[in-house]
Amino acid sequence: MDDGLKIELGKQGVFVTTIEELYNWGRRSSIWPMQFGLACCAIEMIATTMARYDLARFGAEVFRPSPRQADLMIVSGTVTKKMAPQVVRLYNQMAEPRYVIAMGACAISGGPFKQGYNVLKGIDRYIPVDVHIPGCPPRPEALLHAFITLQKKIDGQHLTGPDRPRFLDAEAQGEFPVPVQGEHDLEPASNPGVWPVAITIR
């Protein structure tokens, strides 16, 4: 339906919507993040939920301590190679639809520890990330911005068609392989399904 016509009808007291809009509105307005923090970014995440920044304004104040009840994983901090399999496993245990915000320099790239032997160079090597926020750590406003970006992304999703989200696609792969802690490094070093980026040395 044409947006202009919809507004005109609204002025006449007729509310018109689509199942898609209603469905997306419902989902984006009550995202339940998972309650877990990995490093100092988690402190900013906690600050975001408190009264001053108040994540509750966006419908996401219910932090769930179980992946089964959560929609959103905020990877808030350094993902060490020892922790990476557990993060992927938690993501696998979340029910669809599920979203990931990679918060801070470490979660998106390894950050200041990128050249270390023990830190994963970004969680997007193993699981699909919806929003990346740079910063060390990002301020609560940045997390709010990431959250609004995620809501916009949910609003724009189509329930049918080839670009429908993963949870509405029966063929789509929902389980992401958990890396094995090998003798020298994680095996494999990345999941080619979500990390097809060829690493070029310049």
Partner: protein, 231 residues
């Protein structure tokens, strides 16, 4: 300050623990914080004395860490007797002479555990004690000091994890930072990191070295002329 000097502590140990074999490792820097090197065989007895002695009363172990000393080549000048042909008053004869010669020898490396002791009751410290392993390949056992100072437990696990020193008598010797399947000891100087180097916008020093090495490896594998690592 009421704390005895390292020499006095050494004398006190030797009076209390016969055959303790404590050595002073001098610190040539300004701090002059000399340390005591314990023999592994008597270390637990000496540690118990240091903790229990009324005057020393080192009841708090604040820090335990490891050091990796690689094999090193030492060049030293040695005087050697040698027969030399020489003309003396127009007559050739063999003369014995002392000549200075540089000889190189390899001093084998070892792993070292370093402990910093304080006394809460006496308010003094630190005193540094050290232990050295026989080598850094197969004889890496040292006695655990966890039975004497409980605070050594996690720190000795960390030394075991990162340096590979095996603490005999430790109640729960497992890796603490790396995962159990991990084989290497990352804080050793000859540790080889996994080759997962990635583009670094401002590579310098160590990272630049790794960038160049990685670029060379990639070039060797692909055979194609890759560009050099960005500096």
């Amino acid at each position: 300050m009421g704390l005895k000097t390292v020499e006095e502590i050494k004398a006190a140990i030797e009076a209390a623990v016969p055959g303790a074999g404590v050595e002073i490792v001098p610190n040539p820097s300004v701090s002059a914080q000399h340390s005591l090197r314990l023999k592994p065989e008597t270390a637990v007895a000496v540690a118990t004395f240091l903790r229990g002695d009324a005057e020393l009363a080192f009841d708090f172990l604040s820090n335990a860490t490891g050091v990796d000393w690689l094999d090193k080549e030492v060049a030293e000048k040695v005087k050697v007797m040698r027969w030399v042909n020489r003309e003396v008053d127009g007559v050739k004869e063999l003369v014995e002479e002392t000549v200075e010669e540089t000889q190189k020898r390899i001093v084998p490396g070892y792993l070292e555990a370093v402990y910093h002791l304080f006394s809460i009751t006496k308010g003094h410290g630190p005193v540094v004690i050290r232990m050295r392993t026989a080598n850094r390949t197969d004889q890496m056992q040292l006695p655990s000091l966890t039975p004497v100072w409980r605070s050594a437990e996690f720190q000795e696990r960390e030394i075991f994890d990162l340096f590979g020193i095996v603490f005999t008598g430790h109640p729960d010797l497992r890796r603490i930072l790396m995962w159990d399947e991990f084989k290497d000891h990352p804080m050793r100087r000859d540790y080889v990191e996994p080759d997962d180097f990635e583009y670094e916008p401002t590579a310098h020093d160590e990272v630049l070295k790794r960038a160049l090495e990685h670029a060379a490896r990639v070039a060797a594998q692909t055979g194609a002329g890759q560009e050099g690592a960005g500096a």
